[in-house]
């Protein structure tokens, strides 16, 4: 896939979201620490990172849903069609959420209201943004949407409660709700982590189909690199609250320049290669972002190439290929290591 063309609809610039704790709020966990990325119209973007990398918090920051306290967006811009969402009023954000930017969450079993029928929850989303729509009309449309996302007997299902649906169907219903108002951007936060492999494939196929049909952009937040390879146009690898490598999927997977990206690639076993291949762990644990010094590469503590330079200064984001950017002082060594591998 070539470099994306078309209008940039979401432009996250140097976003910083901190979690403050302690008596005088002196402990500052820099969950998102200067994250920047862009999403083009209709693009399938994957944001990849481990737990604690700040990938979910960054999505909530875009939606203006970071719980305060303790979360606080302390800097940066989230430009949606050029308008900074961080400066928007509550009313403006309410009009955007669900209508222009929708979100799908990780655990469908807890993300749906347990005491309201699935149909009503979808109808509610429709009626919030279409005040003129009657309840009956909204319910009929909700059932239609459930059919659209591949739920059999949608009229019956619409009248059921979430607990009467399987995990896969709940996630389909969540997706139906998210796309009900035809958003321009769908943020999906680990939508398949709680699901089985076969259902995961079904749900992601559905997301991809809806993206093409509705022309919306999808930001898929995930830790599963395989999923990324299959669906994404471009990838943003996030570590320690910031993007360390971004670019077109093929470029990032074939020619990764950041040791963390390469580490992730080498840590998953590959079904297509002999059994002994893969599973090279990254030493250590994901970083505690309240302890990592601000002016250093967050990955330095786990990186095999780390030098004093990495511990004393943050590597800048530099272009390494067409639309392919990487923030590392040791791009060359990394790429060399990659090229020696199958």
């Amino acid at each position: 896939m070539a470099v994306q063309e078309g209008e940039v609809i979401l432009d996250v610039q140097n976003l910083q979201t901190w979690f403050l704790s302690g008596k005088h709020q002196e402990t500052r966990l820099r969950a998102v620490d200067g994250l920047s990325y862009q999403v083009h119209k209709g693009e399938f973007v994957a944001v990849v990172g481990e737990s604690g990398s700040g990938k979910s918090v960054s999505a909530l920051s875009v939606m203006g849903l970071v719980p305060y306290p303790p979360g606080l967006i302390v800097g940066g811009k989230v430009l949606f069609h050029g308008k900074d969402l961080l400066q928007a009023t509550d009313e403006e954000m309410q009009a955007i959420r669900g209508e222009k930017i929708a979100m799908v969450f990780q655990e469908p079993s807890t993300a749906l209201n347990p005491v309201v029928t699935v149909g009503k929850q979808i109808a509610e989303a429709l009626r919030i943004h279409n005040p003129g729509m009657s309840k009956k009309e909204a319910m009929a449309k909700a059932a239609g949407l459930l059919g659209e996302v591949g739920i059999p007997n949608p009229e019956v299902r619409a009248r059921q409660y979430p607990f009467e649906l399987s995990g896969g169907m709940q996630q389909r219903a969540m997706i139906a709700m998210a796309v009900s108002c035809g958003p321009e951007l769908l943020v999906a936060d680990e939508p398949t982590t709680a699901l089985d492999v076969t259902v995961q494939a079904q749900v992601l196929d559905l997301l991809d189909r809806l993206r093409k049909k509705l022309g919306m952009a999808v930001v898929l937040i995930t830790h599963n690199l395989g999923v990324v390879a299959r669906y994404a146009d471009s990838v943003k690898v996030v570590y320690g609250g910031k993007a360390v490598e971004t670019g077109p999927t093929d470029a990032v997977f074939e020619e990764p320049c950041h040791p963390y990206t390469l580490g992730l690639l080498r840590a998953v076993p590959r079904l297509d290669l002999p059994r002994g291949y893969g599973l090279h762990p990254i030493v250590g644990e994901p970083p505690d972002m309240s302890k990592v010094p601000e002016e250093s590469c967050a990955f330095a503590a786990r990186c095999r190439y780390a030098t004093d330079g990495c511990r004393e200064g943050r590597p800048p984001m530099e272009e390494v290929g067409e639309g392919h950017y990487c923030a590392c002082f040791h791009k060359g060594e990394t790429l060399e290591e990659r090229r020696a591998l199958p």
């Binding site: 395989g226 999923v227 990324v228 095999r304």
Partner: protein
């Protein structure tokens, strides 16, 4: 694939030997492990068996849970969580079990572990029938067969130090004196790649991966020869998952352990297993050597599973044939007539809906339960 000869090629003739150890030389996963191996553990272990003997055998294992209804708890049916499963595991080898949620794979693990009392069939461990063990005999069994479970947050008591957790079983069975306990806990922690000084800490001070190491240390403390691993890496991050899988593999080689490795991630199960069984609604659908199974999946369900697992290399992944699987598994209370998979199988025909296929050898020990593959 760049090097076709290395892959599980058409002839699938990869040797079923354990793959090389993970970890490059500059990344020692478990520093100092060697000096601690083989001393006490080996002494407490059962006499070393010649490699190749079957240590664990199950025959027609069944676990039915009754479903009751109404005021008088009338029996309305059974959830056939495990419905006639047989397998044999050699000393020092791993049987992988893959399946979707609800396939009964965890129940199978609990039956073999004898946390559950199977309603039918038998489990033979090291020549002894353990299906009906009770009391002391069961406790003795639990010294030799231990279990590690999925959730590293739920499986450790938050009010016990990790050393206490590790030593719990040892203390109950009075396997060591006070001085010996301390040394044992340190040795176990070191063995799983943790700092032995961490023994006095509490679980909340550890990350998910470290807790899972503590769980493994606890399972090792009694000196078992068999460990049942139930989704041990599912809750972990990829980078940490690789550490834990590597650890399990290293322990197997050093201590001659045998594993049942239960999981839903096909690639991880394959990595660790010598043989893999694919489970669906309480039955094995296909059993074969690890590379044979993934190289030549014969059962339509296995084919769909393998195809659904994405490969983190765009060029390869896009080129693979996709077999998509519609719908979700039916309820295990009312499994479909005939072949259990027939409701989702794209090859299903009349016979599949009427007659349940038996698990048969399709050649070279590759077992499949499918009319289309094994014919009559």
């Amino acid at each position: 694939m760049k090097d076709g000869a290395k892959g599980p090629g058409p002839d699938g003739n990869l040797p079923l030997e354990p793959p090389p150890l993970p970890g490059t030389p500059d990344m020692p996963v478990h520093p100092g492990i060697d000096e601690f191996v083989d001393k006490d553990i080996a002494a407490r272990e059962a006499p070393e068996k010649a490699k190749g003997e079957y240590i664990m055998e199950a025959e027609g294992l069944q676990m039915y849970f009754p479903v009751t209804k109404g005021l008088f708890k009338r029996k309305a049916g059974d959830v056939k969580a495990v419905d006639g499963v047989s397998f044999r595991i050699r000393q020092g080898r791993t049987l992988g079990v893959v399946g979707e949620s609800g396939s009964g794979k965890s129940t199978l693990g609990n039956c073999v572990m004898r946390n559950l009392r199977p309603t039918g069939g038998k489990v033979v461990f090291d020549g002894q029938d353990v299906t009906r063990l009770e009391g002391k005999a069961l406790a003795a069994y639990h010294k030799r067969v231990t279990m590690v479970t999925q959730d590293p947050f739920a499986s450790l008591d938050p009010r016990m130090t990790v050393a206490d957790s590790v030593l719990e079983g040892v203390r109950i069975n009075r396997l060591a004196d006070k001085a010996g306990e301390q040394a044992l806990a340190e040795r176990m922690l070191l063995m799983v790649g943790l700092n032995p000084k961490y023994g006095s800490r509490y679980p909340h001070e550890f990350s998910g991966g470290q807790r899972q190491r503590v769980s493994i240390a606890r399972a090792l403390a009694m000196g078992p020869s068999f460990i049942i691993c139930d989704e041990v890496v599912s809750a972990l991050d990829v980078s940490v998952q690789a550490q834990v899988v590597g650890l399990l593999q290293q322990l197997q080689q050093q201590l001659g352990l045998s594993y049942i490795f239960i999981g839903h991630d096909l690639s991880v199960v394959r990595y660790l297993s010598h043989e893999v069984a694919v489970m669906y609604l309480g039955k094995f659908m296909e059993v074969a050597g690890s590379d044979e199974l993934y190289g030549h999946p014969l059962h339509p369900y296995t084919q769909a599973l393998v195809s659904a697992a994405p490969i983190p290399k765009p060029s390869v992944d896009r080129a693979r044939p996709r077999v998509s699987l519609e719908g979700e598994p039916p309820s295990p209370i009312h499994p479909p007539q005939g072949c259990r998979f027939c409701t989702r199988c794209r090859y299903a025909e009349k016979r599949c809906r009427e007659e349940e296929p038996a698990l048969k050898d399709a050649g070279g020990g590759h077992l499949v339960a499918c009319h289309k593959v094994t014919g009559g």
